[in-house]
């Protein structure tokens, strides 16, 4: 398996172009991932060998200037084919290690992957994170086959997660994007995706590579662009996602600002699309669903509720600028409850909260960053309420509870549309 070390913007493009009839491209964005990327590269090679033996494929490592030997780890990673009972294919698999250009971030890394995909005219692509510990060769089959054999353009991941894992996704991003665009994609910001060469080319047509999309908003941007653009989307059950903790000290409000800000930005761009959507429909799901025991998660309810109370007390006048009085009343009432068991943030009030934050950002009432960051204490209140409600529930019951939340978003969508168009 030849490994190219190339800068696609220079003469190496010619070498890339020399690779003809490539069907599959797998992109791995990385930055100082030497410790983990070897496993990902081996899983990709084994997956491509096992499930696509007759196809020519290329692995592209789009790196952000790692200094820990990530490139060497990629080049040096090799599969012990005997141990995985596979026969090595000759000449069908290539590796390309290339630095990306532009604003540092996952989005810029993906842009390089899209460019190479377009240049090679590949039929199907997949992108996977470089810090994955639970990736198996089957992931490649699940992310790529729906594109190659079922004609789908976009494959979103569907992971098994602990009931309190991914709370921004569960309480904001999934219900809101589902209500807006009408497709039930459970993990819209999963991080590992499959997509067609046609969709990769469509992504490149968009002029977003100097914006936040280039930095961190790429996941939700890819999902929303595929759905709003009318591409054929599906999801694939990948099992549990275990990966290195990304900066455990990362500031929650900065995280919210990045993710929720991206969703709000996309609402502006696709207002013409989501305004006409009512309800939602499931998308095809591939893969064999199973359940596994997930490690318990420690939750500090006292601290979350305390932060909610401080937020309601100190930011009350600020919320008054854009939250309606009934929602403010619910917040004040909730903050005053001494009994933890009665701490329930009702779905209806939460839906209105999110809608009014989106409207405030849309109308640019005050600094957009201030608006979104001030959501943090309310979000913690909703998470605390959700934890209290579902403490004794199993995974299926929790999923049912989230379904109720999603339906609340869908039912109230008319309220958002009316106000988006000007009504106060």
């Amino acid at each position: 398996m030849p490994a190219l070390n190339a800068d696609p913007s220079s003469g190496e493009r010619a070498r890339i172009a020399g690779l003809e009839n490539v069907d599959i491209l797998v992109g791995i964005p990385s930055f100082n991932s030497a410790r983990t990327i070897g496993h990902v590269v081996r899983a990709v090679e084994a997956g491509l060998t096992k499930y696509f033996p007759g196809r020519r494929s290329i692995l592209v490592n789009s790196d952000g200037g790692s200094s820990d030997g990530t490139a060497d780890a990629v080049r040096g990673a090799s599969v012990d084919f005997d141990s995985v009972l596979l026969e090595q294919k000759s000449g069908g698999f290539h590796k390309l290690v290339t630095p990306y250009h532009g604003i540092p971030g996952k989005g810029s890394a993906f842009r390089t992957v899209f460019e190479i995909a377009r240049e090679l005219g590949v039929k199907a692509c997949a992108v996977v994170d470089s810090d994955l510990r639970s990736i198996t060769p089957e992931w490649l089959e699940l992310l790529i086959k729906p594109v190659l054999e079922e004609g789908h353009d976009y494959v979103a991941p569907f992971y098994l997660r602990h009931k309190y894992d991914g709370t921004i996704t569960n309480t904001i991003v999934y219900p809101l994007t589902r209500a807006l665009y009408g497709r039930r994609i459970r993990q819209p910001i999963g991080g590992d995706f499959g997509f067609s060469g046609r969709l990769a080319a469509a992504y490149l047509e968009k002029d977003v590579w100097e914006t936040d999309v280039a930095r961190f908003g790429i996941d939700i941007w890819m999902t929303t662009t595929a759905v709003a653009g009318g591409f054929k989307v599906c999801q694939a059950f990948l099992g549990a996602k275990i990966h290195d903790a990304k900066d455990p000290g990362a500031d929650l409000s900065a995280m919210l600002h990045q993710v929720v800000g991206s969703v709000f930005d996309l609402m502006e761009e696709h207002a013409g699309t989501w305004r006409n959507v009512r309800g939602s429909e499931p998308v095809p799901t591939f893969g064999f669903a199973y359940s596994v025991g997930l490690e318990p998660i420690q939750v500090n309810l006292r601290r979350m509720i305390e932060k909610f109370r401080i937020g309601v007390r100190e930011l009350g006048p600020f919320y008054g600028l854009f939250l309606p009085e009934d929602v403010q009343g619910v917040l004040a009432d909730l903050a005053a409850r001494p009994d933890r068991k009665s701490f329930v943030y009702p779905d209806d009030a939460w839906v209105r909260t999110i809608f009014h934050f989106a409207l405030a950002a849309h109308r640019k009432l005050v600094s957009r960053e201030h608006i979104i960051k001030s959501l943090t204490p309310l979000y913690l209140g909703k998470v605390a309420s959700f934890v209290i409600e579902t403490w004794d529930c199993g995974a299926a019951e929790v999923e049912g509870r989230l379904e109720e939340l999603c339906l609340s978003f869908e039912r109230d969508k008319g309220y958002l549309i009316e106000r988006w168009d000007g009504k106060d």
């Binding site: 894992d165 991914g166 929650l252």
Partner: protein
């Protein structure tokens, strides 16, 4: 005797009448310019109010906290009316200067010259105050949100502190621009600001030892009193 009366009374009277004759047209012109100025100022005021309302700047001022601040200072006008009033006085002052200049009185000309030379300083001071006001509000709110998100119980106090420091700084700069008590104001600011920082340092160092210890224990201790969250938000 007649010569004396002519010299002492009639002559000076003739002079006064002559000066009055030459000044009266200027006075009348000046008064006319002033009256026209008042009329134009009134029209400009109405126009300014209408523009402010059309642009919905009242809501912007309300959101920036300006309306609240004005009410706290017992200013009952809405910001739209206030802007109209400012424009009225601006035009009225310009026309007053014009009318005085038309009268051609040497003393007034001298005063006018000094006033006109000072006017840019007033404008710069006003701009500095306006920027200070908006920056104070912006940074105060940023501090409020950041400290609330960090779970700081006295977030409101911190926010007000940041806002006050920025406003104080703007006032010092404005007074410096106007040349009012230049050295005194700067020295007073340095003393107050330095004193406040020292007081805070002492307060935290002496009064907050326990708090700092608890924080460090909680942050780095093996047996944290309250378990940390393991929730992955994304």
């Amino acid at each position: 005797m007649k010569n004396l009366i002519d010299k002492v009374v009639v002559g000076p009277l003739r002079n006064v009448v002559g000066k009055l004759e030459s000044f009266l047209p200027n006075l009348l012109t000046g008064l006319l310019v002033f009256a026209a100025g008042l009329l134009i100022a009134w029209l400009v005021k109405l126009l300014a109010i209408r523009i402010v309302r059309l642009l919905k700047l009242d809501a912007v001022f309300a959101r920036s906290g300006l309306t609240d601040a004005l009410q706290k200072m017992a200013v009952k006008d809405t910001p739209a009316k206030l802007v109209g009033r400012m424009f009225f006085w601006l035009v009225a002052v310009v026309f007053s200067i014009l009318s005085l200049s038309v009268m051609k009185v040497p003393v007034i000309d001298g005063l006018l010259e000094r006033f006109l030379l000072y006017l840019p300083n007033v404008f710069v001071a006003l701009i500095v105050l306006a920027i200070g006001w908006f920056l104070g509000n912006f940074l105060g709110r940023a501090a409020l949100i950041a400290s609330v998100n960090a779970g700081v119980g006295v977030a409101g106090l911190l926010s007000k502190g940041v806002k006050t420091v920025v406003l104080l700084f703007a006032f010092v700069m404005a007074f410096d621009e106007l040349g009012i008590g230049r050295n005194t104001v700067v020295a007073a600011f340095a003393i107050v600001f330095g004193g406040a920082v020292l007081a805070l340092a002492l307060a935290f160092g002496l009064g907050g030892r326990g708090l700092a210890r608890r924080y460090l224990e909680k942050r780095f201790g093996k047996n944290a009193e309250n378990g940390s969250d393991e929730i992955r938000h994304l």
